[in-house]
């Protein structure tokens, strides 16, 4: 028995000494911050940041080649901690979320063709411009939903909808949308214009029952041009998110019915 204990202890001791020596004389010097950042990260190795594992992201962070805050799993707390380690301020910006600027559901916007092919907006748009009559509107083939790392986007009635609570504002959907109709807006904003068609009223009406006609009523009702709550691009009203309108009454007064209060779909689970 004693021999056994001695043997095991001996083996353990020898191993420990060898390891200790190895660590001291053989180890490679690395930036100590890499280890600290790795520790601060969740360690899930999910790859959501685009780097091979948390360690890879940590190295990129320390090297300054990756933006802080790309770790969706760790969230703000994690970003703040990393910022502390790296000695830079976490960008103190307001939370921004994606907004799909189209409300032309299947029952409101016309279709002009029977699309037969891959369920992806980019290729659908490359096929005769898409099957939707409005060439600016959401095709509903879910390219944005596919790239969303948080599954915050879902397709309802031919339209993409963003769940505000899940969205982390990474902007991947903004980049992938072939119609360029997704925008990052402040999460606090509640009044939105859900249309992306800058054409004249009559041509909008030909393809969609709820398209913005550029009638400027929203502008008038919210205090006129001087108030600066809206900007116009062609015949399309856009909310000035730097100075958003507060009076929810204008929503009901929109004759085109493309204005809503809190457009963010909430899945309820």
């Amino acid at each position: 028995m004693t021999i056994a204990i001695v043997c095991i202890a001996g083996v353990g001791l020898v191993a420990a000494i060898v390891l200790a020596i190895a660590d001291k004389y053989l180890s490679v010097k690395e930036d100590p911050r890499i280890g600290m950042v790795t520790a601060a990260l969740p360690g899930a190795n999910c790859g959501g940041c685009g780097f091979p594992g948390c360690d890879g992201y940590a190295r990129a962070l320390v090297a300054g080649t990756a933006p802080n805050g790309a770790c969706a799993a760790g969230g703000d707390a994690c970003a703040a901690e990393i910022a502390k380690i790296l000695g830079v301020e976490a960008a103190a910006t307001e939370k921004r979320v994606a907004l799909v600027k189209c409300c032309g559901t299947r029952s409101e916007a016309i279709r002009v063709g029977d699309y037969n092919g891959i369920c992806d907006c980019n290729v659908a748009a490359a096929t005769a411009g898409g099957d939707k009559g409005c060439t600016y509107g959401c095709l509903g083939y879910g390219a944005c939903a596919n790239v969303c790392p948080k599954n915050a986007i879902s397709i309802h009635d031919g339209l993409a909808k963003v769940d505000k609570r899940l969205c982390i504002g990474c902007g991947k959907c903004v980049a992938i949308c072939p119609k360029r109709l997704i925008e990052l807006v402040p999460a606090s904003a509640t009044i939105h214009v859900l249309c992306n068609n800058p054409d004249k009223g009559p041509s909008v009406r030909k393809v969609c029952g709820v398209g913005c006609m550029g009638c400027h009523l929203c502008e008038k009702n919210s205090g006129g041009k001087e108030a600066g709550h809206f900007t116009f691009q062609g015949f399309l009203a856009k909310v000035n998110y730097a100075n958003p309108p507060a009076d929810a009454q204008i929503v009901a007064k929109c004759p085109a019915k493309c204005m809503v209060e809190d457009a963010h779909f909430e899945s309820g689970n």
Binding site: I3, A4, C7, I8, V11, G12, A15, A16, V18, L19, A22, D23, L26, S27, V28, G53
Partner: protein
């Protein structure tokens, strides 16, 4: 013959069901599977040599055969650590390729299993090392095969309840079924 026997007939994963954890864990991509196989071959061969020495010169003479499992765990764990550190220092390219797999092997039962089998059979030093090497090759072979299938399965669309590890287990079972065909091909002494 020993090589064929250990690689095909008594394949560690598919017939002895040793090392199932990395078999399922790192077989999603062919590249990682190759890296893992390399690391296993490397560690298993060295571990066999070291454990044989320990067993033969330290434990057996002292009549301590009954604690060899404990001793081997200790030795293999520290050995892997040591290799990790040494490799990082002297062979950085190899470390970059195998590095992340080394810590995983620390607890790999295939390594321990090979050491156990060796000391149970009481084989000579070179035979032990060679057997471990062959077993590791067999493990790597199964791992690479399996990763090929799993890469193919990545495009498959199984029912939701079977996605991920469940379907991998079913596949592993079928692969093991196929390997049954090799039984009797080589009569091993153990």
């Amino acid at each position: 013959m020993l090589l064929v026997g250990a690689v095909l007939v008594n394949n560690f994963v598919l017939n002895r069901f040793l090392g199932c954890c990395p078999f399922l864990g790192v077989s999603k991509k062919m590249d990682t599977a190759l890296g893992m196989s390399g690391a296993v071959v490397f560690v298993m061969t060295i571990a066999a040599a070291v454990t044989w020495c320990i067993d033969h010169w330290l434990l057996t003479p002292n009549g301590l055969g009954y604690i060899h499992t404990l001793a081997f765990i200790l030795v293999i764990a520290s050995l892997v650590q040591f290799i990790d550190i040494a490799m990082k220092r002297f062979l950085p390219p190899l470390h970059a390729a195998l590095g992340i797999f080394l810590p995983l092997i620390t607890t790999n039962c295939a390594v321990l299993g090979a050491a156990e089998i060796n000391c149970k059979q009481g084989t000579g030093f070179f035979e032990s090392v060679f057997f471990s090497f062959a077993a590791a090759i067999g493990f790597g072979f199964a791992l690479v095969l399996f990763s090929g299938i799993r890469e193919k399965l990545a495009h498959a669309d199984p029912p939701r309840c079977f996605r991920g590890i469940a379907i991998a287990l079913v596949t592993g079972g079928l692969l093991s079924l196929a390997f049954m065909g090799f039984s009797g091909l080589v009569k091993l002494p153990y």
